[in-house]
Symmetry: C2
Subunit: 137 residues, 2 copies
């Protein structure tokens, strides 16, 4: 987590790097799970209790627009966030809520092929698998 890096990224767009934003970036970046806005707020409040949830929401939206973080919806009624890593997808364990990340090159190809066939340029997409651990009978 190199603050100067983000400062530069912001400066280019005329966006200010504030103490709050930096704390939020770190909170998401340090998370190995996929926290929702409330969890991000708790983690930032641990560092600076004065950061309000409105700022967290505003910042998360901003960071998502800048492709610094990714916003997900795993179907439980609130958005979840993670720092932008290499491209991957998620498999959600319906029993435990545990999230398994995976990559698949063939999947990416097919996605592009389908869009092409339909005459569209993809802007983004969403793919999640939901399942339960296979039983060894």
């Amino acid at each position: 987590m190199n603050r100067a890096l983000f400062e530069h990224l912001f400066a280019v767009k005329g966006i200010k790097m504030t103490e709050q934003r930096w704390i939020i970036i770190q909170a998401v970046g340090d998370s190995r799970d996929h926290p929702d806005a409330d969890q991000v707020t708790m983690r930032t409040k641990a560092i600076d209790p004065d950061i309000g949830i409105a700022t967290v929401y505003r910042t998360l939206t901003l960071l998502a627009d800048l492709d610094i973080i990714q916003q997900h919806d795993f179907g439980d009624g609130r958005a979840r966030y993670e720092i932008q890593n290499d491209h991957h997808h998620h498999l959600i364990d319906v029993d435990t809520g545990q999230i398994v990340e995976f990559k698949d090159a063939q999947l990416e190809e097919i996605k592009s092929r389908i869009a092409k066939e339909l005459g569209y340029d993809l802007t983004h997409h969403r793919l999640e698998l939901y399942g339960r651990k296979k039983q060894n009978l």
Copy 2:
């Protein structure tokens, strides 16, 4: 839309077939788009103005549990519904909101392969593509 069919399906589970439920089933079944709860309510109110939105929500949830309809989330903050048809996916036009349905056998294979590799049995999944119409330059 055969009412007796659904009546039987309900009876097996000890669930009552009411006039309201039947109207809601038809409203969703007759829709060629992917209406949200509010749109379903308007369509049912056209037939019986006394049906409340609470009943619509309760019924949509019930029907989704019974796999009679499917619930989608296209990222605009409200759920959308469609009658359970043959399995397909959606491409959402980010400019117009138009929804294109598509099927792809290869995609289904890959999905199963991935789940298998990760040691999971799939219960369901979610795949949506978002894009804009290709320009002919």
